[in-house]
Symmetry: C2
Subunit: 467 residues, 2 copies
């Protein structure tokens, strides 16, 4: 596939066409473009100033720019809240950014079908607030709660609650999508079941802005369970944590969250956030990993019963102790856990890993991580979604990009050797593209390129991302 | 896209090549081909004898035939257990059928990752038996339990338990797929989360054999909950049944099954299966619809508590009475409900509908159904998955195919007007292709055709199916 380079004349034609066809089109050019539009939260992708930023108010406006951009072969990069970690929202200097900040309405909360219909610019925390009065919840809970739903759809965001509820993909029932030529299609609907041609909804989810622009999202909601409890259990080894995980799932308590936090991350987090959980020094000195389990229930008595049974179970599984956290401490711990990325960033992490492996292989993977850290004289620490095999690691190697790339390559390779994948939830973007192209099966890459061409024959959608 | 017609010389070249390259290749030709390979369970698709049936034993053998067939442009139709209802397993007379009956092994039951890895020929009932000793379950439960997993993946089979567990799509974590040129790719893995390029797994699910042949499936398993209870509630109107549904979901009892059965189907089913549920004649005479709710739980006491609360709730929601069925009666009722298709077939139904609409729109849809039955002097009755908006109807119009097609077109149109879809779980196949091509957005069909070409440039995979 060709990756076009737009020349200034083409871009001007698009902008002129847009001014002509969209009354009151809001567009930023030159110095009007603030730095935020040049970047996302990726640690390694260099910011880049786009030619223009377009702030559409409607699907019709999105359709106009897509039609013009496709005609003039000008690259388009979609943007939500810019909280992505792989550079998929970082434009090229010949790109137009389409930023969805003004398409941020909740179109409908449908309490009969348990569905919300939203525009892509709405943020997770805004949607959550709007759903509370209805006792409904959109349960996907990635670390960054100011992320937009449009961004979540494009990266197939995951997070802590995937062990119970799955990821974004499992909650997107339908989409409105503007294709590069400007055509608007609607996929799926307010239902879970459909076998009526290929599932275009699922193909769009996780496509990182490379196939089209999502302008409306139909989301599956769940009853919001009122009671929850959090249990923290220190273990002497990470192996014993991960061995405990399938047994907890087997037991039928249906955990909402099953996280491990390694000792280094726990101390850094505690220090950074001032978190004090009342764990005796003796345990702090000997525990090498912590398991955090959160349960939820519609009945308080059942929750108490399950929490007691979980605590007993954890002791049998080798926990050094079990702490049922008071709700304020639990909230702080989960908040602190969400801060892990920012803590890593503040500590000058060189890269963040979001590898996934089969959950039973976490110990083997972590052994490989330790060996690599040793071999490269780097510091690699983290925490992760033990329930679903998603390992987050901060890689600290003193700012040497060459060393960083070698370590990352080896980590990805180790994950793939265990039947895992390069990215569980952050996406490939620009940051992991070279690793992806080197390590993934060329037959699959070729197939994905042909799918890309089926949507975007002129290659204008977020070029250089993924491929 | 061209739909090739293979000439006898091409087919002979494939068969000769196969004999040469696959030692002991098992192939059926001419009179060796029994009638079962000419059909599936569709009521309207005419049987057709293929040129040959190939019974591969391994992925390598599948790869060989795909390479040869693609080279010689000979159509390939994959076949599982042949229980499909839309003709997607019905070949053309210039096709080779690849039947997976000898690739029917369970490769692995992984109790640490809660995953099963299976070959496509394994049947749902065989997998279920194998999982019982591990207290694990593959929870997708379409009506026909002798269906193969490969067929389930290709039709994205749904069934009664979708209201709790979702459909096949939500349980397929990874696939091995042979592409038309013979290349073998592996997608996904033993994990729920991945954003590493386009989701080829989800694109294959529901593709009805038109993109490639699935040779291995990685399935997500769940803990098998030991206790279940079934409640049957007659209602005076179908509206009151469907109005009750979201309230039951809200209540947090997390029903496993939420089915409605209309009065005609209930009496036909009772008569056909000899089912006697002990419902007083007075209720039988006045109830127009029945709601069946099944609950499951890991704790017997909680199940009892939930069942009592559900029964009370149903009374408040207008049920004429509430029967908690003894387990043998409940089993019989669910079995009888599964027989609905066979009962319709035995009663000479002209077609079976598996339309989906947003579940709150079932009453409006059923009003339209009643009007159509009246207008066309037909009899249209059924039952359905009230929890997920999936309506199954038998259409009886005295064997007039022209009238049948007009009714079907109107039913599909009514579903689409409500934001629904043509097929929830049976697929488009050959049976609904014309309706699909007439009613679906041409932009989406064109896009799907381009995706098809990305996988299958020579158009050999199950030609005429879907498109």
């Amino acid at each position: 596939m060709s990756t076009p380079t737009a020349d200034p004349g083409d871009i001007e034609s698009v902008l002129a066409g847009l001014t002509e066809s969209v009354a009151g089109a809001e567009m930023l050019i030159g110095d009007q473009i603030s730095e935020e539009y040049e970047q996302d939260e990726s640690l390694t992708v260099d910011p880049c100033r786009p030619t223009a930023v377009f702030l559409p108010r409607s699907t019709a406006e999105v359709s106009q720019i897509m039609r013009l951009a496709d005609h003039h072969r000008v690259p388009i990069t979609g943007r939500g809240a810019g909280t992505g970690l792989s550079g998929a929202a970082v434009p090229r200097n010949d790109s137009i950014v389409v930023s969805f900040e003004r398409m941020n309405e909740i179109i409908e909360i449908d309490t009969e079908n348990h569905v919300a219909v939203v525009q892509p610019g709405i943020r997770l925390n805004e949607l959550d607030e709007a759903l509370k009065p209805y006792d409904l919840v959109y349960p996907v809970y990635p670390g960054e709660y100011s992320a937009s739903l449009g961004g979540n759809v494009n990266t197939n965001a995951g997070g802590m609650r995937a062990v119970k509820y799955g990821v974004t993909r499992h909650h997107v029932l339908g989409l409105e999508v503007v294709l590069p030529g400007g055509e608007v299609i609607r996929t799926g609907g307010k239902f879970v079941k459909s076998t009526s041609g290929y599932d275009l909804t699922q193909l769009m989810v996780g496509s990182e802005g490379t196939l089209g622009l999502v302008t409306e999202i139909t989301l599956k909601l769940h009853p919001r369970l009122p009671h929850c409890a959090t249990v923290l259990a220190p273990f002497a080894t990470l192996d014993s944590v991960t061995e405990a995980v399938p047994r907890i799932v087997d037991s039928g308590v249906s955990p909402l969250i099953l996280e491990y936090i390694d000792i280094m991350t726990m101390s850094a987090t505690a220090e950074f956030t001032g978190l004090e959980l009342g764990i005796p020094q003796e345990i702090k000195d000997t525990a090498l990993a912590y398991l955090v389990v959160m349960l939820e229930n519609s009945h308080e008595s059942r929750l108490e019963e399950d929490t007691a049974s979980l605590a007993e179970h954890l002791s049998e599984l080798g926990a050094m102790d079990v702490y049922v956290l008071p709700s304020n401490a639990a909230e702080k711990l989960i908040e602190a856990r969400e801060q892990a990325f920012w803590i890593s960033k503040a500590n000058n992490a060189d890269e963040i890993v979001d590898i996934v492996v089969p959950r039973a292989d976490i110990p083997e993977f972590m052994n490989r991580v330790a060996a690599l850290a040793n071999e490269y004289e780097a510091w690699i620490a983290g925490c992760g979604h033990a329930g679903d095999g998603n390992v987050h690691l901060g890689v600290f190697c003193g700012g040497d990009p060459h060393k960083r790339d070698r370590i990352m390559h080896e980590l990805f390779d180790a994950s793939r050797a265990l039947g895992g994948a390069i990215s569980a939830e952050h996406g490939i973007g620009l940051a992991k593209r070279e690793h992806f192209l080197t390590l993934e099966d060329p037959t699959k890459i070729e197939l994905m390129r042909r799918i890309k061409t089926a949507f975007d024959p002129n290659g204008i959608m977020n070029p250089d991302t993924i491929f």
